[in-house]
C-alpha cells in the first residue's frame, strides 16, 4: 500500500465525515467490532473496519471502488456496536452516494440496477411489487431464472404476489419523486 501523494486524497476523510455527519471517524482504533458482527462481511473485499482505515489514510479510489460498500446490507449492527460512536452504516451509505455521483459504480452495478428498479416500482405502485422487481432485474442481467429456486418458499410464505397491490393515491407518490428530482 503506497501512501504517496498521487495515490491519496487527504481531504476525503474530512469530506466523508462532513457528509455523513460523523465527527468521530478519526477516533477509530481498528478494534474490528464492526467487522466482528457484520452479517455480510464474508462477501466483502475490504471489511468494514478496513473501509474506515482506507478513509483515514485518504484512499478514496480504493474505498469507492470497493465491493464492500455495495455488499453492505445497512443492518446497522456495526453502528450499534461501535465503541467510538461512528455510524458506519451511514458512512457506507455516503460512500455509495459519492460513488454514484462520480459514476464509479463498477463493483455495484447490480446493486445500482436493483435500487433503480426498486424505486421505479415504488413510484408506480406506492409500494414495492417484489415479483415485478425480480422479473425486471433478472431480465436486465440476462439471467431470467436467477434465484428462482427461492420463489417457491416465498410463494408458500405468501411473500410474493402475481399482481401489484397499489396504494390509493399513487399520484401523491409520483409527486414526492418529482419533488426529489427537482432537488
Amino acid at each position: 500500500m503506497l501512501l504517496g501523494k498521487s495515490q491519496i486524497d487527504p481531504g476525503f476523510l474530512a469530506s466523508t465525515a462532513r457528509a455523513s455527519g460523523q465527527d468521530t471517524l478519526s477516533h477509530c482504533y481498528q478494534c474490528g467490532k464492526c467487522t466482528a458482527g457484520c452479517p455480510t462481511a464474508f462477501a466483502m473485499d475490504y471489511k468494514p473496519n478496513q473501509i474506515i482505515r482506507l478513509l483515514q489514510l485518504g484512499h478514496k479510489e480504493k474505498a469507492l471502488g470497493s465491493r464492500a460498500i455495495w455488499v453492505c446490507a445497512g443492518c446497522f449492527t456495526c453502528t450499534t456496536r461501535c465503541p467510538c460512536g461512528i455510524d458506519i452504516a451511514q458512512v457506507m451509505d455516503n460512500l455509495r452516494i459519492v460513488a454514484r455521483q462520480e459514476g464509479r459504480t463498477g463493483q455495484g452495478k447490480r446493486a445500482v440496477l436493483f435500487n433503480e428498479l426498486f424505486l421505479r416500482s415504488v413510484r408506480r405502485n406506492g409500494r414495492v411489487f417484489e415479483t415485478g422487481v425480480v422479473a425486471a432485474f433478472n431480465l436486465k442481467i440476462g439471467k431470467p431464472l436467477h434465484d428462482t429456486e427461492l420463489a417457491r418458499f416465498m410463494l408458500k410464505g405468501r411473500k410474493l404476489r402475481f399482481v401489484p397491490v397499489r396504494i390509493r393515491k399513487t399520484a401523491e407518490m409520483a409527486g414526492l419523486f418529482a419533488k426529489r428530482k427537482k432537488g
Binding site: 478494534c31 467487522t35 466482528a36 457484520c38 462481511a41 465503541p83
Partner: protein, 666 residues
Amino acid sequence: MSRIGVFICWCGSNIGGLLNCPAIAEEAASFPGVVFSTDYKYLCSDPGQKMIVEAVSGYRLDRVVVASCSPRLHEETFREMLKRAGLNPYCLEMANLREHCSWVHQHAQEAAQRKAVDLVRRAVAKAALLEPLSPNRIPVTKRCLVIGGGIAGIQAALDVADAGLEVVLVERAPTIGGNMVKLDKTFPTFDCSACISAPKMAAVAKHPKVKLYTYAQVEEITGYVGNFQARIRQRARFVDHTKCTGCGTCWTRCPTSVPDEFNEGLGKRAAIYIPFPQAVPNKPVIDATNCRQFAEGKCGVCEKLCPAGAIDYTQKDEIIEVEVGAVVVATGFGLFPWEKVYGEYGYGRYPDVITGMGFERLVTAAGPTSGKILRPSDGKEPKTVVFIQCIGSRDEAKGKEYCSRVCCMYTAKHAHQVLEKILDARVYVFYIDMRTFGKGYEEFYRRVQDEGVVYIRGRVSKVFQEGSKLVVKGADTLLGEQVEIAAEMVVLATGVVAAEGAHDVARMIGISVDKDGFFQEAHPKLRPVETHTGGVFLAGACQAPKDIPDTVAQASGAAGKVCALLSKDDLETDPLVSHVNNALCTGCLACQGVCPYRAIQPVTITERLPGRPPRERVVARVNEGLCQGCGACTVACPPGAVDLSGFTNEQLLAEVDAFCLCARTR
C-alpha cells in the same frame, strides 16, 4: 512614587527566538515609574537572578517586573530572589511572554511584539500599586487522617506512623485490605497478593501510632490545612469486639446464606461474617439487612452460641470526632458495571461470562472453588476460555474514553493461569492495543504468548449462548477476517472506574473530581499527590487507574508530603487571600455562596458609631487558612467589601487602564 525595575527574559529561543527582547526593554524604560529596564538570556539562572539582585540595590528598586514564563513555573523562584535582594517577596509582578505570547503567536511576529509590550505595560501598571504582604502563622495538629484502608491507605498510614506521627485510618468495609486482597497473584512476578498484603494489614492494625476504624465512614470534614476536624461514624457491628475472640462459632452456625460480595457473588456467606479468613480485624460483623434476628425478630442463634457473650443486637452507630492536621484520601476504585450496558455480551445473563475480578476469586486458593477454575453454571472445567479486553475502557459509546491501564496485564496473567491449571486448555485474548507499560510487563506478555495464549487483535461484537457453549463472534483485524469461537467460559476485563460514592467524598472534603469521577490532582505532572485544597493529599487509584507498584509509590509520596507538612509546629499562610471590609459589608453573604473552599463564615460584630448606641450586626469573615485566593467572593460582593490581597480591585483596574491605553494609542 515607586521605583520599578523591568527585566525581560529571552528564555533561550523560547521567547527570544520570536520577540525582540531588547526592543521591549527599551520601550518599557519609558513606562511611568520605571527606573531601570533590561533583558537577559535566562533570568531564572543563577547569573540572571544575581543581575536582578544587583540592580535592586544599584538602582534602589522597590518593585520588580519579570517578563518571562508563566508565574506557575517561576513565581516562587523570583519571590525567593526578592527576599535575598532585601525586598518584600510580594513586590514582584510577572508578565507571561512565553505561554501567553511567543508560544502561541509564532506566525504573527509583529503583532506578538506589540502584545508583549502591552503585557509588560500592564505588569508595570500593577507593580506600581503592589503592597508588601506578609504571611500569617497558624498552628498545626500533628495527626493524620487516612480515608480508605486498601493498599494505598495502609501504605500511607504505615509510612506516616513510622515517622512518629499519629494516624487515624478509616475503612468503610468490615476489613482493611481493599481490592488488593481480593486478587490471587500479582503480575508480572506472581507474588501472592494476599501473602504480600496480609503482613502490611497486620502491621498497620498493630502499630501503636495507628488508630484503626473499620466498618466506619468519615461523615464530615471541616477546618483547613493543619487544623481539620473530622466526624467519623462507626457503624454498629452488633458484635462487641472487645469481648469477641474471633473463634468462628457464630458464622459457621448462622442459618442465613447470601451471595458473598467479597467473592464477587460466586460464593455464599452467612449474615454474621468476616469477609475472608485473614481479615483485619479478624472479628465478625452482622449484616443487619440479611439477618433473621433483625428482619423477623427471631433467630438469635449467634447470641445463644457465642462463648464470649459478644453479640449485642442493640448496638448503635457511634460518632467519633478527631482533630487532624492532614488528610490522605485513598478511597480506591470500582470496576465498570458492565451488566448495565454491554447487551452484546449478555447483560450478565450468561453465568459463564464472568469478570476479571470474578476470575481472581475463582483462581485463588482461598476462593469459593478452592482455586479450581470451574464454570459457575455447571461446575465443569472449561477447556476453551476467551478473554475480552477493554470492557468499559476506551469505549466512548459506553461513556469511558480512558485506558484503565491494568487490564492488559491482569488478562495476560489470567491467561497464563488458565494454561497453568487446565492442561490442554485453549486460551484466546481479544485486544485492541496491548499496553505493557511497567517494569517487566512486556517480557511477561511475550512469555504468555510463548506459552500458547492466542492473541487476536479485535473487539468482540457479540457473545451468545448455544447449548452449553458460548459463541464469541469477533474479528481478527490483522488478518481482516471474522472469527468465531465456541468458548466454555468468557472473562471480561472490566475497566477501572471511580469508587462508589467518590463524588460524595469529594464534596465532603472539598476537593474536585475530573470528568471521569477520579479525584483531581493539583498538577498532572509536578503535583500528582496534592489536591487544590491545602493539607489534603491523594494516594492510589482514587486519583486515576493505577497498578499496585504505582499505588504504593504514590501512597508513600503522599505520606512524605504529610510528614513534611506535620513536621512544622506552625504554618505560614499564603497572604494572597481575601479580606472583608466590615464597614462596607452588609452581611448578605453572597460571597459565602460562591466560595468553593467554604472559607467564608458569617460572624456577628458589635458596631460602635459615634453618637449612636452600639449595635450587633452580621458580616462575612474569611478564614485565611481555607482561602485559596481564587477571588470569586470579590466579584460576588455587591458593595465591593471583599478585596483580594495581591489582586486588589485597584490593581486590576490599573491593569485594565494600561490595556485601554494601549488600545487608544494604536
